[in-house]
């Protein structure tokens, strides 16, 4: 690897933030004791929910598949420990909406018995790339940086687009969060091996690791780990410590000088971006056969006893982690999932940890400052810090007025919601909230439009069909009529008509013979004859009447 400082292309905007990193970095990564039950949401990733592969009452082993990927955009879920499946039920999950979602509830038996499907590989770098990608997919690995995009799918798009560079995101730019940093400090060699596996899976050799230049111990550790390998194409690049240096678009720009096109993917410019946590998960999955069942979570914040990094099994409730970190300082506390800039608040500490959760931030009411929103004075501070190079105050203006077509002209959808504009606004306007609102409105409007378009199409199609049927009937009728008109006038020629005529004739003949002589009247007595005569007389009279 090269020791000279690599060239970088700094991104526009961004801000210097107080790091608050040392608070959680001093200690080693701690494991925690098994909770009483693990709640595993079926959707912990971007894409479709996994399909349960177990039923309540089943006994499962550690690392056993309990829910399989339901489509290519999905990821399987494995049992974090051995135990019994208690239920598959609705439970609140870690999501900004706070809504219930289907979860598998697992009660640990504390045996920690591994499934026999777990197979280590002594030589991961000799496995075929395609097999590697499959293994990564079946280990349930998703991007651990926060987005939780299925890793296998990302690798496949990289293969399809012939990418040439793998970018590893070690620039943990949000304040407080140190889970990647701690991972590097303790398991750098494993991360490097994970990177090598990813490179092989992608069939490329070039890799850039982006790391913030203030993470000195981590840089040192990674450098040492790199010298132990014979890799020459993995380079460590120090980026300026400036939020949001770890944003995918910003990191790629800083390391390669190229901008990911708007509405595009990194693979459009020949790169792929993975988080160091993902690299470690890949190492675990390929080398040791251990699927993704745990992750490092930073638990920090002013409202917490002591900050630390924990290795957490998925499904562990937040409160268990808080307890391990010395509990709450105050009675009244705020919980934020993710960092202070981009995290979202949740209202319960019963929620389980999922694959995308990198940090639990505990606020404290004493740190709260009352800030009232003032009118925008168009000072332009937000323009100076916006890494997407858009004009937040003009977006705000249009979002307020609900001018959703104008707001898109000003590139609303390029906003990465990093919160820099919020942070610097002297009027304390929650700008990002306005932008999220506008985005949601536009999305739902588009959905509505799509729906009504479909409905209209359906309606038009139906009308067309009815019209066609009518025409067909009309056509048939017309043909028939024409056929009739073309028929020869002589009825006798028509067998049907002549048959009818014959029948009519027969009936008439029958009627005409109704007045024939009565049968069996030869040897009747006179009285009988008279009676018959009278009857005939009466009948005739009746007829004539």
């Amino acid at each position: 690897m090269s020791t000279t400082r690599a060239r970088i292309w700094p991104f526009f905007g961004g801000i210097r933030l107080p790091g608050h990193k040392s608070e959680s970095l001093g200690k080693t990564i701690q494991a925690h004791s098994l909770p009483q039950q693990l709640i595993l949401p079926l959707n912990q990733h971007i894409g479709l929910s996994a399909t349960p592969a177990v039923k309540p009452g089943d006994k499962v082993f550690k690392g056993q598949l309990i829910a399989s990927a339901s489509s290519s955009v999905s990821a399987p879920i494995h049992a974090p420990t051995s135990g019994t499946i208690k239920a598959i039920t609705q439970h609140p999950t870690l999501h900004p909406s706070g809504l219930n979602a289907p979860c598998i509830v697992l009660e640990p038996d504390t045996q920690e018995q591994w499934a026999d499907t777990i197979k280590p590989n002594a030589h991961p770098l000799q496995i075929e790339p395609e097999t590697l990608r499959k293994l990564i997919g079946s280990a349930g690995i998703v991007g651990l940086g926060g987005a939780a995009f299925p890793t296998r799918l990302k690798l496949e798009t990289g293969i399809e687009n012939n990418i040439d560079t793998l970018i590893i995101n070690a620039a943990e730019c949000e304040p407080y969060i140190t889970c990647d940093n701690a991972l590097i400090l303790e398991r750098a060699a494993h991360i490097i091996e994970g990177i090598q596996i990813l490179l092989r899976a992608l069939n490329i050799s070039r890799c850039l690791i982006g790391i913030e230049d203030e993470m000195k111990p981590a840089i040192h550790t990674l450098k040492q780990a790199l010298t132990l390998t014979d890799e020459t194409d993995i380079r460590l690049v120090e980026t300026p410590t400036r939020y949001p240096a770890g944003g995918e678009k910003q990191l790629v720009k800083t390391l390669t000088g190229k901008e990911i096109p708007a509405n595009g993917l990194p693979s459009d410019i020949g790169v792929l971006c993975h988080n160091v946590g993902t690299c470690y998960a890949v190492y675990q999955a390929i080398r040791h056969g251990i699927p993704l069942i745990s992750r490092i979570v930073t638990v920090a914040g002013p409202g917490l006893g002591k900050a630390c990094n924990l290795e957490v099994l998925f499904g562990t409730p937040i409160k268990d982690l808080i307890q391990l970190c010395g509990g709450y300082v105050n009675d009244k506390t705020d919980l934020l999932i993710g960092g202070p800039m981009m995290g979202y608040p949740v209202n319960s500490d019963e929620l389980p940890i999922i694959k995308s959760c990198n940090c639990i931030l505990v606020g404290s009411r004493s740190t709260k400052t009352e800030q009232t929103v003032m009118p925008c004075i168009r000072c332009g501070e937000c323009v100076d810090v916006c890494p997407a190079k858009i004009l937040p105050q003009i977006l705000y203006w249009h979002a307020q007025a609900k001018e959703f077509d104008r707001i898109q002209d000003y590139h609303l959808f390029d906003c990465i919601e990093c919160g820099c504009c919020d942070y610097v606004c002297p009027s304390h306007i929650p700008l990002v909230q306005y932008f999220r609102f506008a985005k949601n409105e536009i999305w739902s409007m588009e959905k509505e439009k799509l729906k009504s378009d479909q409905a209209r199409e359906r309606h038009e199609f139906r009308n067309q069909r009815i019209e066609k049927q009518k025409q067909a009937i009309e056509e048939r009728r017309r043909k028939k009529k024409a056929a009739l008109e073309n028929k020869p006038k002589n009825l006798a020629d028509d067998p049907k008509k002549s048959a009818i005529l014959a029948a009519i004739e027969r009936v008439q003949r029958k009627k005409s013979v109704a007045d024939v002589e009565p049968k069996n009247t030869s040897n009747l007595s006179n009285a009988q004859k008279r009676q018959i005569k009278e009857t005939d007389e009466r009948r005739k009279n009746n007829k004539s009447e």
């Binding site: 901008e259 595009g264 002013p302 925008c376 168009r378 004009l391 002297p426």
Partner: protein, 341 residues
């Protein structure tokens, strides 16, 4: 434990910068300028400032109450005070009190609140107030300035501003050298207008403090002053008898005050940095043109208002290239069709 869901938790980790603090800093940085003004031109100005401030606060409170807005909350932002002080500094020291009141009322009521209050006005309120009275009462506005020497030797108590004086003489066909020789009062100081140069220098000091504190950015003041200097230098070099030297333009009248305190008003100036550059250049050109060939001795107020009008279009045409987008899309204005058609 009791977790309470808040929508804007990020606030908890934010620094404390506020509109009020910004306005207060602006007021504080005006102190050297005002102090030197008082030193050179006597205490008349302080009266203007007091009258303007009282009027502004009263008018603001009344109209906030009338608009059913939280009165104390909005008064605390101090924006009305900034408008009042800046306006007062533009008026002659001996301006009658009612003149100050009218100007301030116009600034606060018409120019600010009729447009929607703080952050919504299109025109700089102080400049609107100033323009209203310079058009309505030109006589007072051009004569009721104190002679810089009035406090020392009284040969004429009141005077026109140096810019006014010279403009009148130049219009009568005199050359600049003739004016300086014949003039009863001193017009030229060390580098700018007599006495005014020091006041302007003090304002420059405050302006630099604003830059240092990042309340304002360099684009507008530098471009405005640079443009005036450049044009003035060209014309002065070409004909030094009829065109004033560039430093005189910078250090006389309200040039420095306007460059740092008035043109940089965030509400009425563009949002983009490129827009700021065009805005500054525009004010510079207008100021020079009005001063030299227009009907008013100091054209800054008109220049600022003329550029205020162009702020929306400047915002539109100077949008930066958003991240990940191809270069420059907005070279012309596209007319958005209604969604119906």
């Amino acid at each position: 434990m009791n977790v309470e869901k808040t929508t804007n938790l990020n606030n908890r980790f934010k620094p404390h910068k506020s509109v009020t603090a910004m306005m207060l800093v602006v007021l504080v940085t005006l102190v050297p300028g005002v102090a030197s003004y008082l030193y050179f031109f006597g205490l008349g100005m302080i009266l203007n400032i007091i009258v303007a401030c009282i009027t502004a606060l009263a008018a603001e409170a009344l109209i906030l109450w009338w608009r059913k807005k939280p009165v104390v909350f909005y008064l605390k932002d101090c924006s009305a005070l900034v408008t009042a002080v800046l306006l007062a500094l533009c008026l002659p020291s001996l301006a009658p009190w009612w003149l100050t009141v009218i100007a301030t009322l116009f600034a606060i009521v018409i120019a600010k609140h009729l447009y929607g209050g703080l952050g919504h006005n299109i025109f700089n309120p102080a400049m609107i107030g100033y323009v209203v009275i310079i058009i309505s009462f030109p006589q007072i506005m051009s004569t009721q300035w104190l002679n810089p020497d009035a406090t020392k030797a009284i040969d004429s108590y009141t005077a026109a501003t140096p810019l006014d004086n010279i403009k009148t003489e130049l219009d009568r066909g005199q050359t600049i050298s003739e004016v300086t020789e014949a003039s009863p009062t001193l017009l030229f100081g060390e580098f700018g207008a007599y006495s005014w140069e020091w006041v302007n220098l003090a304002f420059l000091l405050g302006g630099i403090a604003l830059l240092y504190l990042r309340i304002i950015r360099w684009h507008i003041p530098l471009m405005m002053l640079g443009t005036i200097f450049l044009i003035a230098a060209v014309f002065h070099y070409y004909d030094s008898d009829n065109y004033l030297p560039p430093l005189f333009h910078l250090f006389s009248g309200g040039t420095i005050l306007a460059a740092f305190y008035i043109a940089t008003d965030p509400v009425t100036s563009p949002n983009t940095r490129l827009g700021h550059i065009y805005f500054g250049i525009g004010i510079g050109i207008y100021t020079y043109v009005i001063r030299t060939w227009g009907g008013y001795p100091d054209g800054i107020a008109f220049a600022v208002l003329l550029m205020n009008m162009k702020t929306p279009i400047l915002d539109y045409v100077t949008q930066p290239r958003a991240f990940g987008h191809p270069k420059k899309r907005h070279t012309h204005i596209t007319h958005k069709k209604d969604s119906q058609d």
